[in-house]
């Protein structure tokens, strides 16, 4: 392992060599044994690591308690979890389309189905139609 590769791995994986893969760790330890530059890079990486650990913000207990209370209140007001599955989602999507309730929606759907299957009724037969073919009085037969 070269010092450049070691410096890159320090940036990628951090200076905790124990968390590195075994092969890279062994190569890094061999490099550190003979390279002052590598040791300096490790020291610099450890300093940045420690500074970051100290500087990264942490939530205070009051903020956490406030958050838990806010979540509890919003969950108490929120509707129950939306059901999963295609049928449940379809039912949820159709729900706003049934302002008078599911009964009305089903009734409308049944009527539409019945009308669709029954088809258009034929025109009524004219009951006087056959008379038009009869000979009129005085007409020669």
């Amino acid at each position: 392992m070269t010092p450049e590769r070691f410096a890159e791995l320090l940036d990628r994986r951090g200076p905790a060599l124990a968390r590195w893969p075994a092969a890279d760790r062994a190569a890094a330890e061999a490099l550190l044994a003979g390279s002052p530059a590598a040791r300096a890079a490790l020291a610099e990486a450890r300093a940045l690591d420690a500074a970051l650990r100290g500087a990264l913000p942490r939530p205070d207990p009051a903020a956490l308690a406030r958050l838990q209370d806010r979540i509890a209140r919003s969950i108490a007001r929120a509707p129950l979890p939306a059901p999963s599955g295609l049928l449940a989602r379809l039912r949820a999507a159709l729900h706003p389309a049934a302002p008078a309730g599911w009964g009305a929606l089903v009734a409308v759907a049944t009527c539409a189905l019945w009308l669709g299957l029954a088809g258009v009724p034929r025109a009524a037969v004219d009951p006087l139609g056959p008379l038009l073919t009869l000979p009129l009085a005085g007409e020669s037969l």
Binding site: A51, P59, I71, P79, L80, P83
Partner: protein
């Protein structure tokens, strides 16, 4: 891992009877997946147990993406609250076979926090005299303490200049007990891509710190 049972006041009041106490003890021993299954059926107490277990880390991640100024702390609380609300609403769709609850939750938190940080960045400059003025002055005291506080303030300011996704990578890298695979999954990237983000973030931080007189 032991978790403390922290329940909101509306839940504590309801926990007075022995039967309810026994149920809460059951909840404390339940897995996250079992609690989510109960939440999907509408069990708000089970969900409160999940909030007690994972609320702190969710808030910490949001805080570390959004920054440590007073306004950002409020935003971080909003983000964490919104993430849990989304988790509640989508509880029925949670599949423990596909992801751990924490990975799923952290992904929601980080997506919300990154989106909010990006919107804030496009709305105005991320770092200027106004932003730096938001950081508290080093506390008076011994010289070493003041130097440490100044270095921390400088790091805060340097972190504020990083892209939101780089801050998210840093936030995940410094979470104890989170493996590289879990951190990468929370950010929805490969482990190698996460390492790349960390490399660029550390290089940028070092350059910013060295550039400071």
């Amino acid at each position: 891992m032991a978790h403390s049972l922290t329940l909101p006041s509306w839940c504590r009041a309801a926990a007075a009877t022995p039967a309810r106490t026994a149920r809460l003890m059951d909840l404390a021993g339940a897995t996250d997946a079992a609690l989510m299954q109960a939440a999907a059926a509408g069990d708000r107490t089970a969900f409160a147990e999940l909030v007690g277990r994972h609320g702190e880390r969710a808030l910490r991640l949001a805080l570390r993406v959004l920054g440590d100024s007073p306004g950002a702390r409020d935003e971080a609380e909003d983000v964490a609250q919104e993430a849990f609300l989304r988790a509640w609403q989508a509880a029925a769709g949670f599949d423990p076979e596909r992801a751990r609850f924490t990975t799923w939750l952290h992904r929601i938190v980080l997506n919300l926090a990154i989106d909010r940080a990006r919107r804030r960045a496009t709305a105005g400059p991320a770092l200027g005299p106004e932003v730096l003025a938001e950081w508290p002055d080093p506390a008076p005291g011994p010289e070493e303490q003041a130097a440490t506080a100044e270095r921390a303030a400088t790091l805060h300011a340097a972190l504020a200049t990083l892209p939101a996704k780089h801050r998210a990578a840093i936030a995940l890298a410094y979470e104890d007990g989170l493996s590289g695979a879990e951190a990468a999954a929370a950010l929805d990237v490969s482990e190698r891509a996460l390492e790349g983000l960390l490399r660029r973030a550390r290089q940028a931080l070092r350059a910013l710190l060295e550039g400071k007189p």
